[in-house]
């Protein structure tokens, strides 16, 4: 273990020397390698838990599709140098609205889609307007957004509502098996890996976002205004509009995330989505996004979400019964991870850049 991390560090140094590796890519590299190491490690430590199986790997993602949406939204606003902590509240609100809407089955489940998107977009537009055009601190605006969403949940329905709508449950439990990706069980049946519809939606959305960030003018403007808004302005970027759109997009993604979450856990519950903004932020950061703006990649966030999911899966396997230990261990993992990341980044990044002045 020690050796391997050392050699990673060395190889990273080499790469850096050869060519100016940007902060963004460096952090991504660290994330991906740590994920791989962690996964292999858990596969070895918990050999009986089938980490080597395709289905287990895919389920990591199936269970966290909604989180990917929220985290991607945060990735976008964080790259633009802003933040949105209302996403958890929006998730909860969306699930409660859908559940309440479907409760007596007079409304078709199809409506849940536009409703979810609309809620997200409305949050995005209002918050984005206040942040970008009224120049109010994003933390405050979106914190109020979170309060508002959480309060609205109780206003709509202070009790929990299970979803029984047939069509919705059908979407929720559907599985799309992936041909050829299977392991043979001991008694000969095939354990085929599958994706849920939610996961498929998440993957498609992620691909769109990746392309957007890399290949469109809007995407690059996000990085520019996150790096230095003043400079971006002077270089002719429409800073306000970019920031506004980033928040609208984040709101939209939160709406989608809410829908996917409801598919994953089909019921409306006043506690739904509580604290998810923190999960989303930590996934993004683990994936190499900087809260200070201008640095990060959506694909990194994807790995951040996977790491979150992996930790969540591994911790219960440690066989501790007491209810409070899992949280401590989860954060110990998180801690170890962030420390490793920051040590790598520090060992290779800034120092070299400072001295590499031509």
């Amino acid at each position: 273990m020690k050796d391997s991390s050392k050699s990673i560090m060395q190889s990273q140094k080499l790469i850096l020397k050869r060519k100016g590796l940007s902060d963004t890519k460096l952090l991504l590299l660290i994330t991906v390698s740590l994920f791989v190491i962690l996964y292999i490690l858990s596969a070895i430590l918990f050999a009986d838990r089938n980490f080597a199986k395709y289905s287990v790997f895919f389920n990591l993602f199936n269970n966290k599709a909604y989180l990917l949406m929220l985290a991607l939204g945060l990735t976008i606003v964080m790259i633009s140098g802003s933040i949105d902590i209302s996403v958890g509240g929006v998730t909860g609100l969306v699930s409660m609205v859908i559940a309440t809407m479907l409760v007596d089955s007079t409304v078709s489940a199809v409506w849940s889609i536009p409703v979810a998107l609309a809620i997200g977009i409305v949050f995005g537009i209002v918050q984005g307007y206040l942040i970008a055009y009224m120049d109010i601190q994003p933390f405050i605006v979106t914190l109020s957004g979170m309060f508002f969403a959480r309060g609205m949940i109780s206003v709509i329905n202070p009790r929990s509502v299970p979803i029984t709508d047939e069509m919705f449950m059908c979407w929720s439990s559907a599985r799309v098996y992936i041909p050829f990706l299977y392991n043979v069980r001991r008694h000969g049946t095939h354990d085929v890996a599958y994706l849920t519809p939610a996961a498929i939606v998440a993957i498609i959305v992620m691909i769109v976002i990746i392309i957007m960030c890399k290949k469109t003018k809007f995407g690059r403007s996000l990085y520019a205004i996150g790096g230095n808004p003043q400079s971006a302005l002077l270089m002719g970027v429409n800073v306000k509009r970019t920031k506004f759109l980033a928040h609208v997009l984040c709101g939209l993604l939160a709406g989608i995330g809410g829908l996917l979450y409801t598919l994953f856990a089909p019921s409306g519950n006043p506690g739904n989505g509580y604290g998810y903004e923190i999960d989303a932020i930590s996934s993004s950061v683990i994936g190499g996004v900087m809260l200070s703006g201008g640095v990060g990649l959506p694909i990194g966030t994807f790995f951040g979400v996977l790491i979150n999911a992996l930790i969540e899966r591994v911790v219960p396997l440690l066989g501790i019964v007491d209810a409070s230990w899992p949280r401590i261990i989860t954060s110990a993992f998180l801690f170890a991870f962030i420390v490793l990341q920051s040590v790598f980044a520090r060992g290779t990044g800034r120092r070299l850049t400072r001295s590499r002045i031509t």
Partner: protein
Amino acid sequence: MRFLNIRTGVSIKSGLKTIAKSLASSRLTFSIVILLIVLVQNIITTPTFFKVSITNGLLSGYIPNILDEASELVIVTLGMTLVIAATGGVDISVGAIMAISASFCGLMLNGSEYRTDVFHNPYILALLIGLLGGALCGVFNGFLVSYLKMQPMIATLILFTAGRSIAKQITHGQTIYIMNPVYKYLGVQIPGVPIRTTIIVSTVIIVIMVLVTKLTSLGLYVQSVGINGSPSRLVGLNSRMIKLMAFVICGILSGIAGLVGSSSIGSVNSGELGLSIEMDAILAVALGGNMLGGGKFSIAGSVIGAYTIQAITTTLYAMSVRADQLNVFTAFIIIVIIVASSDVFKDKVQKLTRKVFSKNVSVGG
């Protein structure tokens, strides 16, 4: 003698002038105005709002209530102010730190018993141990931020996630009740003193913080480090130390808030103590006109911000808003406050009034 009088007269006058000037220009004015508006609104809706009476040897009424209930938030907000100013990030572990330090204190007092009225250790010692716990949490956070260069929100996320569980482990996984009446001295009342101790404690801490920033150069150091780390180092400031210090102070203050909070209910419930207070504290800092990006800060602003939040909550309760729906109104009011105090809004209003004014003039002429 006369000479002295004149001198002080002049200095008071000029002092007032500078205060007036800075009030007119700063955002602080706005938070004061808002606080006033909230209070005035209360006179209208709740006539008894300003009534203060003495019941059970304690001052009571809406205002003492607000001061009392805001005390934890005020104390935490002061620490948060320093962290935000020095690092440009937030400390989201303050609520968890409150739980941890209260648990330490509870452990010292109760030993392994879950409900008792005998102190196993001296009261003061227990309080100090509690504070030490808070300070250690601060050191941990500060170390991660200043030495490992983590982003503050992420560094404090660790204690945020684990803190309450750790606190629970300290108290052997249960809520503990400290039945000795002395324990309530800190959070309720010292016999014979007609003012709630929470109010006294928070006031004393505010005064200490103001004095510290006035008498030492902590304020300047924190601001410099928060604005730009690179020149700070070159002018001889130890920015790591200063960031660490901000976190430690924040940890200690959160610890005090935790002790006050648990003392006022006479028990240590690590799942509930200071729950979600981090968000309120950040909000208070911002309401006080401080930038969350770090740098310049105002203690007075943060304090006013914290009291404003409590005043809003108390007011809403007085108007019999349901607890779980309170958030909707709070969010709404806060956004209105912040929008109205934003520069953009002020500009627009100014332009509008100018337009109206100039129209009048042209019509008149």
